[in-house]
């Protein structure tokens, strides 16, 4: 069962291991990312971080069977690198219920909408499309923060971040 899908360009890192996994009581982390999956060093380094009680899968996005991950009872956190990957995962059958935007780094065309999330107009439009199919989208780095809703993110973007 997929408890949460998180967009985080750092994939498995401190906030995920120390805050989200305990908060979600997640027993499985699925990283759907071609670059991470393509490096044995990155896979090993990220795997080191996760407590032995949780299973880690780091796979190319196209190879993740999202429906199967959602079908069993294992609470799962899915990590993708950015909004474009989220859309691709959705097209490949990722059942979205809750999407959290954690870390999306700055690049030209993106504006800051939280201290750790930078989005472009295209990405905001893509997220809006997802919410129209009933998905809940929020931004926050860690569970203890206030979740910033998509309308609020758009408002901040409109004001220049």
């Amino acid at each position: 069962m997929i408890s949460l899908v998180r967009v985080d360009n750092r994939l498995i890192h401190g906030q995920v291991v120390e805050a989200w996994v305990p908060a979600l009581k997640a027993a499985r982390i699925v990283v759907a990312d071609d670059e991470a999956a393509g490096s044995d060093l990155v896979r090993a380094a990220m795997g080191l971080a996760v407590p032995a009680t949780a299973e880690v899968r780091i796979q190319p996005l196209a190879e993740v069977d999202f429906a199967a991950v959602h079908a069993d009872a294992v609470k799962t956190l899915v990590l993708v690198r950015d909004v474009g990957n989220l859309v691709e995962a959705r097209e490949r059958g990722l059942p979205l219920v809750r999407v959290n935007l954690g870390n999306v780094h700055h690049r030209p065309g993106r504006r800051p909408v939280t201290p750790s999330v930078f989005l472009s107009q295209l990405e905001l439009d893509q997220l809006t499309m997802l919410t129209s199919s009933g998905v809940e989208v929020e931004a926050r780095a860690v569970p203890g923060e206030r979740a910033v809703s998509l309308p609020e993110l758009k408002d901040r973007y409109g004001k220049g971040g």
């Binding site: 291991v17 380094a45 971080a49 700055h106």
Partner: protein, 141 residues
Amino acid sequence: MVGLVVATHGHLAEELVSTAEGIVGKLPGVATCLVQPGASLDEIREKIRDAVRSVDTGDGVIVFSDLCGGTPCTLSLTLSRQLQLEVLTGVNLPMLLKAASLRAERLPLADLASALTQYGQRNITNASASLRDGVAAGNGH
């Protein structure tokens, strides 16, 4: 001399080094690397690489990271095949102070890393429990 890089979240690295220097004086061959929100992995990796290069005199570098599995640790590990470095986690003040003194003994990089790991672990204690045990055993001071 083995170079030292302290790589952490927030401003911990700078504070650890300045605190260590407040205790034992200026530390040569020490660089810091801070991981801030909004930076891309490539940017952070380059910052770590620059920090390592700035203190590498040919004897290798020890990276002291804060959290096993945190970004500073993970990215340092991904550099460990290209650069001569050892990556430690759970950096604490005793380790840094010990590194400053132990470097003078010119241990090989891996031995120094191993000694500092053990030293850092040994210095996490329940001091009050040790005191109570010591008093109970009659050898308290």
